[in-house]
């Protein structure tokens, strides 16, 4: 359920590294907790975020929830498909439902995140 090719935050985001680019989404656990996702506010390209700052806002039927950036960096791409199909996050949170690609400004931060095993332990699954 939780791929080992990436790391996880305690705020329930995942990040997968390719070179100095980080692909970010929310975890299966998070999408289950949120329920039906019906809207997403995506960041603008070029936006710089620090670790734990708000990167996007996901709206489920019942509430709006912030997505925190697991690392610092600059937004270089957003998943445009989510504008029309935000439910992709429910359907495939770890692949098709990715949210943002960041150019990392402090790659060290990645190391402080949880491994798949640690994250599973953290959510008690």
């Amino acid at each position: 359920m939780y791929p080992e090719d990436r790391k996880y935050s305690k705020e329930h985001e995942w990040i997968k590294i390719e070179g100095n680019i980080g692909i970010i989404g929310i975890t299966h656990y998070a999408q289950e907790e949120l329920g039906d996702i019906v809207h997403i506010d995506l960041p603008e390209l070029g936006k710089e975020v620090k670790q734990k700052e708000v990167l996007a806002v996901i709206e489920s039927v019942k509430s709006a929830s912030d997505v925190y950036s697991p690392v610092s960096g600059k937004v270089i791409e957003v998943n445009e498909k989510l504008r029309e199909k935000p439910e992709l996050i429910n359907e495939d949170p770890h692949n098709e439902g990715w949210i943002v690609k960041l150019e990392l400004s402090n790659p060290e931060e990645y190391n402080s995140l949880l491994s798949a095993a640690e994250y599973k332990n953290y959510i008690g699954s």
Binding site: G35, D36, D41, V61, K62, S63
Partner: protein, 365 residues
Amino acid sequence: MAKKLFLEEEHINLGAKFFDFAGWLMPLQYSSIVEEHLSVRTHLGIFDISHMGRILVKGNSAKDFLQHITTNDINKLFPGKAQYSLILNYSGTIMDDIIVFMLNHDEFLLVVNAINTEKVLNWLKQNNTLNLEISDLTKETILLAIQGPKSEETLEKYLKINLSEIKYYHFIKSPFGNTELLISRTGYTGEDGFEILADLKTGKKIFLDLVYKENITPCGLGARDTLRIEMGYPLYGHEIDENTTPWEANLAWVVKLNKGDFIGKKALIEKKDKKTKYLNGFIMVENGIPRVGYEVYLKEEKIGYITSGTFSPILKLGIGMLYTYIDIQNEVFIKIRERYLRAKIEKPPFIKNTSLKKGEDKNVS
């Protein structure tokens, strides 16, 4: 400590996610709010709404008493008829919106909002100068809502009785085993449907049978809320409260000023042309989900606030209700996070042509 439903275990077994609502631990959803919502609009769903307060008022002068306590005209009732009504305080603002069921000439059942059950019970007792018997049946009974276009057909088959003769806002008492059910054609979803009041043991059997044998989709309060918002029905604590008159909440149709005296009438007459706020429905024009408490703007000026807002699973866009301090008709802006998004004022219901057959009554709650 939140109160628990008698059927909590059954809801857990069905995979319910729970949340606190009005002092009760309630199912929010089972599968998904959208799926449950669509199930009710197209087919059928069952809700355990046993958190709603059920109060029995009994005695020779029960009718006169309720005529004095509520705003609608009790004289329109007869055994087997239910009525949407309001309880006001002396300031003419809303203590609760309720349904009154006339069981017998001297016996009435009030279904009140969970959040107001204690308050209404105390209010009734405080005003009970006529020695009436006032009892709280909430914890001794189960209240189930079966809602959706297939509700009549499915319940007729299960209960083996004819339900087609029960008109909207009417009810029957029907034997079931060695007990009796109260079955009313009422609901809060905008679809045709029934509400069944039963004792605990019978209610449990009916719930389990309907879910597991008749395959009715269990639905949580999440879907109940999105369904009622699509219809523009008010919810206590949102569109109505003790800072709101029936005039402001567009509930003048439930107030019968010519029926004689009732609590709040004097203040109501004084406040009739003095609305301090206006209730309207709205639909988002720009992409965004409105939520309760968000601010409403006209140009640069803040003119009101949202009382209920959600994503409509049918329209697939944001809808809701709002109060403004000035009377408006066209377009407003909703502040969602730091953006001001366009919305157009529209009279609910937002979904037309549902399976609900209103007949003689308007439908609310």
